[in-house]
Subunit: 345 residues, 4 copies
């Protein structure tokens, strides 16, 4: 019955939602249809990057004007997964997910969302957080009828700065449990940041001190959704694994040789990547300086490099790249994913 | 008669020349055979990056021990073109060029070097500097019998900070004149940073306040040099032009699909790239933030992105990437080059 | 008749206006009484610092709730002069200026504000901009009956990045003309960034690309305003001129020896400072690295140092410090100013 | 019998030792008399700051020319305590300590130095390191006859990055034991980074991965040394404690009101300060952003602020400021010290 709409918009600065306003004005997407946002803003991606909050506040003010809901009510039902840092060729942009009711049959790409319950501050990195994320991911899956998700985004509360990595790890294991990617008996708080054999290759986690409860987006095929969009995901063995990106494009029906030709690029509706600076200190045996370069945060190095590798295949810098991948893939690796519009049969 | 030896060495830090010492100890390269160095050190690549001077001082001290020459004498005959900044996957390394006398015939990759005359401080960006660089490039070509160089590196004095871009531009036009890539009548000081139709697609310029005179490396085929190494150069249309990198690899006999397979990577002896943040503010229509991101220098963004794109094809981060490309190619574009060892026939 | 109210509030982050909400809730300041804001936010103070816009958006949303006016209408009548960058001990805070109607006689510290007309983009740095700022400053003076202002803040449009310094210079000369600090015949566009003998020691200018028209705050004594607050201003010969700060405190009735004692610190309602990295490259003969440190913007160095010097006397980091002082004092110097509550006679 | 000579020299860049060469050429200090160096170089003070190694290599090469010793031998007998980072007004400089044999009686400021034994890599932060530092400090004291040191500098090996804070803490407790500032029974590895009631207010520690063994400088009065120089030390309650700096100057015989007058400044031969960003997140109740500002390291914030506060009293930016003060004073506080030449009686 529903149709997923995916639109990629640009921003002139983090408070600029004029492209969303234009989308609404054009009728391509109605304000009330917007269900979730994944985007990159141009801050430094660190603790004093406030561009995410600024964009969200701007967006909710705009939607409030159109829907009559309050900004607070909108923020409590529309998950916004934003990552700061557009290093190198990365371009500030947001992927706006909408759902329109229409007569559909068959099977297509679906979106489920959910907000978890508020947890006490000291729950970060505990079995309580793992359970909360597991429940929220299950709720998001159920809301859209997605039995086997292709990609899951979770934004989770960290409680405190010191707990950031542990909170990401707990959310990853919680999502992995919901997906059945790890044995529930082992994926407990005792395994956090220890047993790296436990991971899900299809979750992308971010954590924030300011986040009050889990926000979840689940993407995957489901019955009753309009066909037309395809989502693919591939693991990347390391940040230089360009064959993975090329192969993903080909698997989605694009002629990547190695880059996607200009004529096909508009069919790309969203590109996501996740990775980590290799903690061994080297990539394929060559020492990198991502971990020891005091004046440039390790994740900024990583985003610039990984983003450029992906963009060189997909054709431009509108790539959502984020770091911090505990239990979200094998150590040192990452993933690349894309949503492509399929041509009418 | 001579044979060009090209060795790529790693450094644990900018004062670490133990890999050069090991090279000498192994006999692969004698200290007295070293003729030139092109390398990347892990500073920030800016005004307070002193890693270049530190590496050169360390290297000359080592060579002085072995050759009996003074460090100052060595620095005055061995050009060292170093670029700071190993952002993203870039790996600190140096390409050591040596020349060994041996019986040779036929034709092979040759290296010519030259040092120009010391110029007064206020000559930066004048016709005097253009003429000095032209003469030094011609001298380097003559020293090796290279009639038509494939790639030229020039390190030139800037006089003052304010004159950096202008000094690079003057050196580019001087080298372009020596190569016959621009009409001498038009390539004068009046055209500097104005007439961008004047450029050479095979020169890489760096400028420094501390540099007392021009240092020149010329690479190209010449008669009487031992065969075995091939140098190729390709223009890059923009920082995402991955097809150019892949095509260069293939033109040099490597099976890039799209990356060079692991077994062939040891044949890569040196990889160079040059590029610029697109001053239009966008790459293929997507806004980039390289020019407006106050906390991260534009060239650091560029090096991280361009270096990763090239490394994703060549297979690791040992890529010499530098920015500041006035009159060294069409605006917004760049070049990629590599030296490959050819298998015995 | 009116009484000036000056409150200094803290923010937990640039979107946090809860302290303003508390002020309103307490009745110390009604939302409708707020007339102007001067503050520091914790961004990097550069081109990709969006903390100023975020704070203003947050503040106007709060005031809109209380006053019934739209955020846009509020932003068009309440000047907000914000400076990003809380380096060192500097503390994110804002000085909220309110005006309350009450029966007054005699003479006291007054506040006048004005918004100039919108100018075409290419007017930055021209005689048209000088004239517009002059008119706006005169309007602000007239609005409060201030004949001889003690301190003037101007936020002015820059048109483009390249025009920032020139726009600041034009605004400084425009304000200086309104104040009679420079001869009108000489203070024209021809003198901008050339004739540094032309300056006003009582203006603080900021420029922004996103600013559509001049915003002006004028502070000074005027008849008919309630007494009780005193504003003082002193020139600083250089960034280390601690005697100037100490003397200013004493002139305002505080016992600075050298710091203001804890018991008197609550009487300090606002502290402002302006300065510049000395372009000679040295402070009192000792080389500084503010201008050549690529990884840290010159103004960040300056704010950290100047802010700490002022704060060591005033007692804490709630100091408004900004740089970019063309025609706002003698080269290399700056100013320090403070508003102090006087004890009842 | 010996006379301590203290000279403060400037550097144009970290490889510039021309001012030391000039000192030697002038006869004020002979190359063979140099015993120790404490200085600040203009890197970022972090892991990719190689300016310390560059300066030391340059200095030892110069001294080797004059003394005939090898650079390695010189580096093994002349302790060099360098700190990177000249933020704000801080000026790159070094304090060169020399000792000249001459007929003396009475009592004066003395310098003792020592190098500890090389320790295994995993000894960092253990009782073995505490004992090694204690022994080295005792040896340095004995070498000069200093019974009760006024100030002690220690550079200690860290083994690995992760062990930096723990290594500094161990060295602090080791020095504190030698000085009798802590009870030996409690100052053991078990107390490291736990029992902050254990500290010495007269030690300044730095740690480095590249450091092979402890290097110690001890300064204090001793019999048989020529009089003429006075060293004073004061605790600072926080980074804004300007009264402490002013009082130190006065205690050393200078007329600080609040700054040292220009005519007396040449008598200042060295100024040292140590401090920490307050981990409570506030200075005197005002929130600071030193700990959460991702794009600027906390220690860079601290050095800029503390250095400017001290320099505003002493009169210029030649202040040795370093951070990382575990067990080197009460939490959140620091120290300031100076060497002043006394006028002839």
């Amino acid at each position: 019955m529903p149709r997923l709409i995916v639109e990629r918009i640009a921003m002139a600065h983090p408070g600029d939602v004029s492209a969303v306003a234009a989308l609404i004005a054009s009728g391509r997407l109605r304000a009330g249809e917007i269900r979730a946002v994944v985007g990159k803003t141009e801050g430094n991606g660190g603790l004093n990057d406030f561009t995410r909050g600024y964009f969200i506040q701007s967006l909710m003010a705009l939607l409030a004007e159109h829907t009559g809901e309050t900004p607070a009510a909108l923020a409590a039902r529309i998950p916004c997964v934003l990552s700061g840092g557009t290093e190198g060729v990365l371009s500030p942009h947001a992927v706006i997910f909408g759902v329109r009711d229409e007569a559909a049959q068959g099977r297509g790409l679906a979106l489920g969302t959910a907000f978890g319950a508020a947890l006490p501050r000291d729950a970060a990195g505990t079995d309580a957080q793992i359970a909360a994320v597991e429940a929220a991911v299950r709720a998001a899956m159920a809301s859209a009828g997605i039995a086997d998700p292709t990609l899951v985004f979770v934004k989770t509360p960290a409680g405190s700065l010191a707990a950031m990595a542990r909170a990401r790890a707990a959310a990853a294991l919680g999502a992995a449990r919901a997906l059945g990617d790890v044995p529930a008996a082992r994926a407990t708080a005792a395994a956090l940041l220890r047993d790296y054999t436990l991971f899900s290759p299809r979750v992308a986690i971010s954590a924030g001190i300011e986040v009050p409860c889990d926000e979840v987006l689940v993407l995957g095929e489901a019955p009753g959704w309009t066909a037309g969009l395809t989502l693919g995901v591939r693991p990347m063995a390391d940040v230089l694994d360009i064959a993975a990106v090329r192969d993903l494009m080909r698997s989605l029906g694009l002629d990547a040789d190695p880059g996607v030709p200009e004529a096909q690029r508009p069919r790309l509706r969203a590109v996501f990547a996740k990775g980590e600076p290799d903690v061994s200190g080297a990539v394929r045996g060559a020492r990198h300086t991502m971990l020891g370069d005091t004046d440039l945060d390790a994740q900024r190095h990583l985003r610039a490099a990984l983003g450029a590798v992906v963009a060189s295949i997909t054709g431009d810098g509108r790539v959502f790249v984020s770091g911090g991948a505990e239990h979200q893939g094998p150590p040192g690796g990452g993933l690349v994913a894309a949503i492509v519009e399929q041509p009418p049969a």
